[in-house]
Point group: C2
Chain length 234, copies 2
Amino acid sequence: MTQTSDTTSYKDIKRTVLRRIRSGEWQPESLLPNEQELAVEFSCTRTTVNRALRELADEGFLERRRKAGTRVLSAPQRQARFTIPLVRDEIEAMGGTYRYALVSTETQPAPDWLGARLALRPDQSVMHVRCMHFSGNTPFQFEDRWIVIDSVPQVVQADFSGTGPNDWLVQTVPFTNVELTFLASRADAALAGFLDVSEGEPVFTAERITWLEGQPVTFAKMYFAAGYRMTTEF
Amino acid sequence: MTQTSDTTSYKDIKRTVLRRIRSGEWQPESLLPNEQELAVEFSCTRTTVNRALRELADEGFLERRRKAGTRVLSAPQRQARFTIPLVRDEIEAMGGTYRYALVSTETQPAPDWLGARLALRPDQSVMHVRCMHFSGNTPFQFEDRWIVIDSVPQVVQADFSGTGPNDWLVQTVPFTNVELTFLASRADAALAGFLDVSEGEPVFTAERITWLEGQPVTFAKMYFAAGYRMTTEF
DNA sequence: AATTCCATTTTGTATAGACTTTAAATTTTT
DNA sequence: AAAAATTTAAAGTCTATACAAAATGGAATT
């Protein structure tokens, strides 16, 4: 048999299954018919049903277990997917002109809090880089970053006067794991100066820790200018 | 042929491809061999290669276009996936005891800013619900929510004195689209009182707009207590 | 009554092959 | 030279089938 216009596609099945869940025909926690039965219902192969259900499970609507079958999740665990763009791309996408400025670089032993956060040995040292990202002449983001020298030895020769450490790292070091945190922090005097806001103002902040195969590579705090909103649709 | 222990699995292919990208063997922007060629290399069918590459594209490492082929993305668009839990689950997962308190409910014409945000007609009215979520006796989240009555007529008979509007909505109305925004806001006097912080303190805030097939259902602002961190790993 | 073992069910993944759709590249026409 | 039509290469999807792996539930054993 072949794929003609009247063939049931895995997308049709996804749609139908979603509709049945939404309409209440398939209640939360209830078990779906198995793949073979659905294949008969939709007149297609089990392969096609499998793909549809697999994707719906991946999207957080269903839970699947071998032998136990497929069931509807009671609270659909829908996941918001944030694509974190490079600052430059983000600014240019808004029609701004990206401008970068290095504030300071310093090589030093890792401070205690950082050592604890990244599970560093007491003797490991880090490069501390602070820099600003502007949209035109408006401050957009202040970046406070630490790079683990043992994990990225080349960093000692890197020149961050013209390129941001993030751009450099993305080009230079691959990573395997990331921890990303969003929080609201309070602008201290220094930060207020950088971002051109009053001291004490709320600042949307992202923290990012990056590892390569278990090795900590870098820790970054990114402070966004007033009014920043991190948005996604799903 | 059949799936024996020496069979190449799509997971092996994913690993190998990722390794080649990380090692620089396959440079950013460069074109991968086509599926047929890779199938020969890995001694498997094109189907298997297809699944591996499809998933890697979905995860943001590759870009695929028919006829044009598959290429390595220069800045891997890795996506952070946040699963937004129900407040109750979040509190209980931390070992706290969930407690809920209704602050106010009111039915009113939609304020202008809300009408604009949700594309409401001028005559549409909304139910405004304000409530608190506690972990034990500690304030955890203040929720400020508007529900579009035309989209959820049953809401006028709902009783939010014991159950939060979010729990009720999740049980009652399906949704198809969500816009989620994170930002940092400043505690005004009222909010400071609810969350037990000083006026002016930064407050991590999430805004969520929910639609059902294009119809706006609800707009919610969720203000989190001091120190809240929204974290994910990927 | 508890534990271990085993059969069975259901999803997971692979093969081989074919047709479909998209869009880049080429050729033809204007 | 530009625009339109055609070719074609690559990914996209489906069928049909087979074996694999996990986990459940019951049977056998302790």
